[in-house]
């Protein structure tokens, strides 16, 4: 019966998508005018690589509507209106000096989100933030970028194993793409290319932001006793990369950062059970590789968190130990953006966690495909992630309709089932099925 309901949800969502496309086609009328304006703006600067300056504007509007899929009921959870814009002012010079480098770029990107709460626990609220506000100096093959920005590391697609540089929005980590849960930070990033095929990148985040925590988890309120980001320690890391003559791109990493897995301690506050958030620093080392052969690409990431912490109820304190995470993937890209990928991943927890996490090995197999239909206007995508030796199952069908003008409508369902235990991938989101309709317009 539940499957029947899901099917109904997906069909109704598809109908909504088609209706939305018709609705949005009216907007296409204004495309001509926008295109004219854009061409005028583009003509301000010259080529990207020419001396002089270039102004690159960009804007997007997105409306998300989330629906919870529970037995016999589809309920609207929360519409979100998202608006973002970006500008990059780039100066390039022919003469080089430290004051006047090869290229100087000032980059600004901001987003504003308006969430519409649908229940008594969550009222309407807005979030506005700089996604990027930075200056970049480029001298010879070296670059220094200072300011609010995002730095993304890792070779595999999907699980953000090495994508550890930034704190994350933990409110709905499963239902939000990893790239959208990253919290931009004020940091300095130095990129050096000392020898051919070698690159070395280092970062320091003096005042890292704290993760955004959900208000509740498993019916328990979450409280944060640390007061500001000043309580956080500085985060830093380095990455050395080498592209071998055979085409294998290898990278090794070392980072010191706050735990990207939120750690909660059960507490009693005003006679009520609650969860208190703990910030815990850890050291991580890792390696990654990628190799392309024809239409196939091999990818792999491995990280060892040397002192990952979890709250031990029996000891009433934090338990520290090593956690190893591995992802190995292969993907194939074919004609017209056809895409197929397989990925094996596993987590291994140190023996200290034996009483907390059983078994200490977790393995998953994931498959993903993307199939274009009707030229490139429609795309059908699917993700299946199945636990090996345990019940975790994540199904994510996705239908995307997009026009060349920048309008797109996407319907995505996330159907999760598995064990709601610490260490399992889905954690508290297990059995929290979701349907999301997204209408997006890029200017």
């Amino acid at each position: 019966m539940r499957n029947y309901k899901r099917t109904l949800c997906i069909i109704s969502g598809l109908s909504l998508s088609v209706l939305s496309l018709f609705f949005c086609s009216a907007i296409a009328e204004s495309q001509q005018q926008i295109a004219t304006t854009r061409s005028k703006v583009d003509s301000i600067g010259s080529s990207m690589w020419n001396p002089g300056y270039r102004w690159e504007p960009y804007a997007a509007v997105r409306i998300d509507s989330d629906y919870a899929l529970t037995s016999y009921r589809v309920s609207l959870l929360r519409p979100t209106v998202y608006a973002g814009m970006r500008g990059r002012l780039r100066f390039a010079s022919q003469e080089r000096s430290w004051l006047l480098p090869d290229r100087l770029a000032l980059i600004g990107r901001a987003r504003h989100m308006r969430y519409f709460g649908q229940d008594a626990l969550q009222s309407d609220y807005s979030e506005a933030e700089w996604v990027e506000l930075s200056g970049e100096w480029l001298v010879a093959q070296h670059a220094l970028k200072i300011g609010v920005q995002e730095l993304v590391w890792g070779e595999t697609i999907g699980l953000p194993l090495v994508d550890l540089v930034h704190a994350r929005d933990q409110r709905e980590p499963i239902f939000t793409d990893p790239s959208e849960t990253r919290l931009p930070a004020a940091m300095a990033v130095l990129s050096l290319a000392p020898f051919a095929n070698w690159n070395w990148q280092s970062f320091v985040t003096p005042l890292p932001p704290k993760p955004r925590l959900p208000k509740r988890r498993a019916e328990l309120a979450i409280i944060d006793r640390s007061h500001s980001s000043v309580d956080q320690e500085a985060e830093f890391g380095t990455r050395l990369g080498w592209l071998s003559p055979s085409g294998i791109d290898t990278k090794i990493y070392a980072l010191r950062h706050a735990s990207r897995i939120p750690i909660y301690e059960p507490v009693i506050v005003d006679g009520q059970a609650a969860l208190s958030y703990h910030s815990s620093m850890l050291n991580t080392a890792g390696a990654g590789l990628s190799y392309a052969a024809g239409a196939w690409v091999l990818r792999g990431d491995f990280v060892r968190h040397l002192n990952q912490a979890f709250w031990s109820p029996s000891k009433s304190s934090l338990e520290h130990g090593a956690v190893d995470r591995l992802a190995l993937g292969i993907d194939w890209s074919g004609e017209d953006t056809r895409f197929f990928a397989l990925q094996y991943s596993q987590d291994q927890y140190a023996s200290q966690f034996a009483s907390l996490i059983t078994p200490r090995w977790r393995r998953w197999m994931a498959g993903k495909f993307s199939l274009p239909l009707a030229g490139r206007s429609f795309k059908v995508e699917g993700l299946v992630m199945q636990g090996l030796g345990h019940r975790d199952l994540w199904l994510q069908p996705r239908v995307l309709a997009e026009t060349a003008s920048g309008l797109s409508v996407e319907l995505r369902a996330d159907l999760l089932s598995g064990d709601n235990q610490l260490g399992h991938y889905f954690g508290p989101d297990t059995d929290a099925d979701r349907l999301r309709l997204t209408i997006k317009y890029l200017f």
């Binding site: 993304v152 790239s179 060349a404 920048g406």
Partner: protein
């Protein structure tokens, strides 16, 4: 004796004047694009879809492609270093490894734009010759290039590439390309239109049009994964 001598002289003279297939290929490359660094703007039309790219090329192993249009693909930039290629995926906000043979758009592979020189990537031999043209058979010098084999027709005298057939390793025909609309670009007459047709489905055609081409000094620092982002 005199007859033998004259035959030897004739043979020597003919070998001195005969042009090597790889030399023809190099000269055809010179017609396709300048050998040093340059920036060009190209469009690729596949059916109703039109994509626009800004392409910076330095030598034969460094290329950066920035997608300017359509809006849905803006930011999907490509970097080629040697035989290796990375694409910036806006949804992931990072560069990921991709292969040269992947489709850029329509029938055009990444390598059709990113690698505009055959010499070095392929060894050539003259397969056929007539009064007006040479037909060269090209064999990839290594795996992982856009195409494993190709057959290229080059005009005699002008060394203009006229057409090409791109083949699989087994010799099966993948695509046909026609080089046309020769116009003044970066100091000489070059093809400004490349029509690529799928061999199996003749109705699937992509037209690469070079709008402009400007030789200019490009710094190695520009060709880094860190610069792929929008």
């Amino acid at each position: 004796m005199m007859r033998v001598l004259s035959i030897c002289i004739a043979l020597l003279a003919s070998s001195a004047w005969a042009i090597d297939a790889n030399e023809i290929l190099s000269k055809a490359d010179e017609i396709r694009s300048p050998s040093a660094a340059f920036v060009m703007e190209v469009t690729i039309k596949s059916g109703e879809d039109v994509s626009r790219f800004e392409v910076a090329i330095k030598g034969k192993d460094k290329t950066m492609i920035r997608t300017l249009a359509p809006p849905r693909d803006k930011g999907r930039n490509l970097l080629m270093l040697g035989d290796d290629m990375w694409a910036y995926i806006p949804d992931l906000k990072r560069a990921v490894r991709v292969s040269l043979s992947q489709k850029l758009t329509g029938e055009a592979a990444n390598g059709d734009i990113a690698r505009v020189r055959w010499a070095g990537d392929y060894t050539a031999k003259i397969e056929k010759e007539d009064a007006n043209s040479w037909t060269l058979f090209l064999l990839a010098t290594r795996r992982g290039l856009t195409y494993d084999k190709a057959r290229v027709v080059v005009a005699k005298g002008s060394f203009r590439p006229l057409s090409a057939e791109y083949l699989t390793l087994d010799g099966d025909l993948l695509k046909r390309a026609e080089f046309g609309a020769y116009q003044q670009l970066a100091g000489t007459e070059r093809p400004t239109e490349i029509k690529i047709r799928d061999a199996a489905r003749q109705d699937r055609v992509s037209i690469i049009t070079i709008i402009n081409m400007t030789p200019q000094e490009l710094k190695d620092a520009e060709f880094q994964q860190a610069n792929l982002g929008p």
